[in-house]
């Protein structure tokens, strides 16, 4: 029997009801995260990965709503049935989140020490002095050199990498069970990226924390997660262990993402691209949402929305190729590419 997961999400639907219609940004997403596990979520911009992570914290702003029927359970607690005050106490305490842009995520008018010290004061009765001591300790933990002195620095006096370390420190102040990292390295230099990922891995190893890493960069996922969820058009299209996924990607979208990854040492004139763009959440395509951009698509894909087929141990894929694998032998120009050429 597998232990109860730390977080389980079932049929999460987050819709935005605007005057232009209903944007189904997240449309029936189910997954779970075990304690101390590191899970990656990949996909292009607009596929719903950020909305998914904000939904977990119930931080969706108007006009967005998490639709009835969705279920988010953390440590056995149904988050969607909590009142606002109880939910507020979950944030930071049990689930914390770090963001993409470390410059705008820190408050420019307070020292980093003051900003870290504020976090426990929101949730607990703790003296200023104790909070400050914990802030300094945390700065040391996230690898800020000379933390006692650095705590007096303002955000603008730190480099991007340092600021992201401070952000991580802020998120970890209350030892959350789950850390959601939304594109934590996208705004950083490549060398700094590696350091931040290393730090996250190290912190996860040291604590019992789980990490949900959201990124558009498969390279980041390969380095620092054990399981990968690929999202497309508001749905999960493939989920597998990281090795399995890289060795045998099943969904044509995952294949496309991998082909689009720049690789050192290979000689290619141009980077491979997936033709077309993510469709509009106001009107997802019928059938398989990827069929217009897919090199294998056939009539069935236009007609029939594929379920998540189980294709291996812990490996699922939302593609009809699972039942008609012979179609993979005959790729063709995708619909989106043909339309583009004709225009």
């Amino acid at each position: 029997m597998t232990p109860r997961p730390l977080l389980s999400v079932e049929e999460l639907r987050t819709y935005f009801r605007t005057s232009a219609g209903v944007a189904r940004a997240v449309d029936g997403v189910s997954f779970s995260i075990a304690a101390n596990e590191s899970v990656g979520v990949v996909g292009e911009s607009g596929c719903g990965k950020s909305v998914t992570s904000l939904s977990l914290l119930r931080l969706i702003q108007r006009p967005g709503t998490i639709e009835p029927g969705s279920k988010i359970e953390l440590e056995g607690t149904d988050l969607l049935s909590l009142d606002d005050e109880s939910m507020r106490r979950i944030r930071g305490n049990r689930i914390a989140m770090i963001f993409q842009e470390p410059m705008t995520a820190l408050n420019p008018v307070f020292t980093i020490g003051a900003q870290l010290a504020e976090v426990p004061r929101v949730h607990e009765h703790i003296t200023r002095r104790d909070a400050w001591a914990r802030a300094v300790e945390m700065l040391g933990t996230v690898g800020i050199p000379d933390p006692a002195e650095r705590a007096h620095s303002y955000p603008h006096q730190l480099s991007g990498g340092m600021r992201q370390r401070v952000m991580i420190g802020m998120a970890l102040m209350l030892s959350p069970a789950l850390l959601i990292a939304d594109e934590p390295t996208t705004a950083l230099d490549v060398t700094i990226q590696a350091q931040i990922l290393e730090l996250l891995a190290e912190l996860r190893a040291r604590t019992a924390m789980s990490v949900l890493l959201i990124t558009h960069d498969l390279g980041v996922v390969a380095e620092s997660t054990s399981r990968v969820i690929v999202m497309y058009a508001g749905e999960i299209v493939e989920q597998a262990g990281v090795r399995e996924l890289f060795a045998q990607p099943h969904h044509p979208y995952t294949e496309g993402l991998m082909a689009a990854m720049p690789r050192a040492g290979t000689k290619r004139e141009r980077l491979t691209v997936i033709p077309g763009a993510v469709p509009s959440p106001y009107e997802w395509p019928s059938g398989c949402r990827f069929h217009e951009r897919c090199p294998y698509a056939w009539e069935r894909c236009e007609r029939e929305h594929p379920p998540l087929y189980e294709i291996g141990v812990g490996h699922v894929s939302r593609c009809h190729l699972a039942v008609e694998p012979e179609r993979r032998a005959t790729p063709h120009l995708p619909l989106a590419a043909r339309a583009g050429a004709g225009a």
Binding site: G92, N93, F99, A105, N107, V109, H156, Q157
Partner: protein, 311 residues
């Protein structure tokens, strides 16, 4: 005796300037205030304006001490419209009152009225604008259309209307009226700032860490609108001083015999051809005060520009 008083005042100013300079260039951790101060110090006109304001403020604060005569006492009917002399530095007005002492006291009253009225308008405008911007939606629309309506009435016309309706005004009610009609611009400014600030990731990050709405306003929004508000307030002081003077000049501001810069000018206007000194000296002080406020405001705006966060 008088010389000693002036010397003391001068020493005080010098000490203040030295302290300010030490603070700006002091060793140790660089605080934001220090950065702003150092940048402010690089504007010569703003520094001169600040010194002028400090001098004006200190001089007016010590006016009972520095005045050569009682500002209300009629020295002698024979001394009416007496030209400036060694004894009567700025001469006397039509009633035979010492203009120098009246200007000192008048500056004090004008500055106090302006500072208090501006405080009212800043607090009100910030609270109003922050509420509208943070809550948003229909409330925001209604609140801001109301501000638009008030802004469409020229302020001086509004002031004259209120002033004549409730004449004669006490100083307290004058402060209230000046303050209550000056906050519309500030509220607009604060609302616009709050609208852009609340979309920043730091607000999302604070929410993600469980911060309450009130904490977000207090820790993330208000401190970050402080710079533009301070600038607006400095410029607002100049506006209020001029408006108060205008009301007093029109005879509906601070009532005689209490001196204010505006009513001293008012008293001197009929005698401009014969006793020019009565209107000229308070006029100069008024211009210097308003100009200094504006220059200091401009300097502050540059020094606090958030786009120049790096030293």
């Amino acid at each position: 005796m008088l010389a000693i008083r002036w010397l003391c005042a001068a020493a005080l100013i010098a000490a203040l300037c030295a302290a300010l300079r030490r603070f700006a260039h002091g060793s140790g951790r660089t605080s934001r205030a220090r950065v702003v101060l150092a940048r402010y110090a690089s504007h010569p006109s703003a520094v001169i304006a600040l010194v002028a304001l400090i001098v004006l403020y200190v001089v007016s604060a010590f006016s009972p001490w520095l005045a050569t005569h009682d500002p209300i006492e009629i020295l002698a009917q024979a001394l009416a419209n007496h030209p400036p002399s060694r004894e009567l530095l700025f001469g006397t007005d039509f009633a035979g009152r010492d203009v120098f002492s009246r200007v000192l006291y008048g500056t004090r009253i004008s500055l106090s009225v302006a500072l208090l009225a501006t405080s009212i308008s800043v607090v009100l405008g910030t609270a109003y604008g922050a509420t509208a911007g943070f809550i948003g939606g229909t409330l925001d629309t209604v609140m801001m259309r109301l501000v638009d309506a008030f802004l469409s009435i020229p302020r001086i016309v509004l002031l004259i209307a209120i002033g004549t309706l409730w004449a004669p005004l006490s100083i307290t009610s004058l402060i209230l009226i000046l303050g209550l009609t000056a906050w519309f611009g500030t509220s607009r400014l604060v609302r616009a700032e709050v609208l852009s600030l609340k979309e920043r990731e730091m607000v999302a990050a604070a929410r993600a860490l469980g911060a309450r709405d009130l904490a977000i306003v207090r820790r993330h929004l208000l401190p970050n609108v402080l710079s533009p508000v301070i600038v607006a307030a400095t410029l607002g002081v100049a506006g209020v001083i001029v408006n108060e003077a205008a009301l007093s000049f029109l005879g509906i501001g601070i009532p005689d015999p209490t001196p204010s810069l505006g009513n001293i000018i008012h008293d001197g206007t009929p005698y401009l051809a014969t006793a020019w000194w009565v209107a000229l000296f308070p006029g100069i002080v008024l211009v210097i005060t308003a100009l200094a406020c504006n220059l200091a405001g401009d300097g502050l705006r540059d020094a606090m520009d958030p786009r120049q966060v790096d030293r």
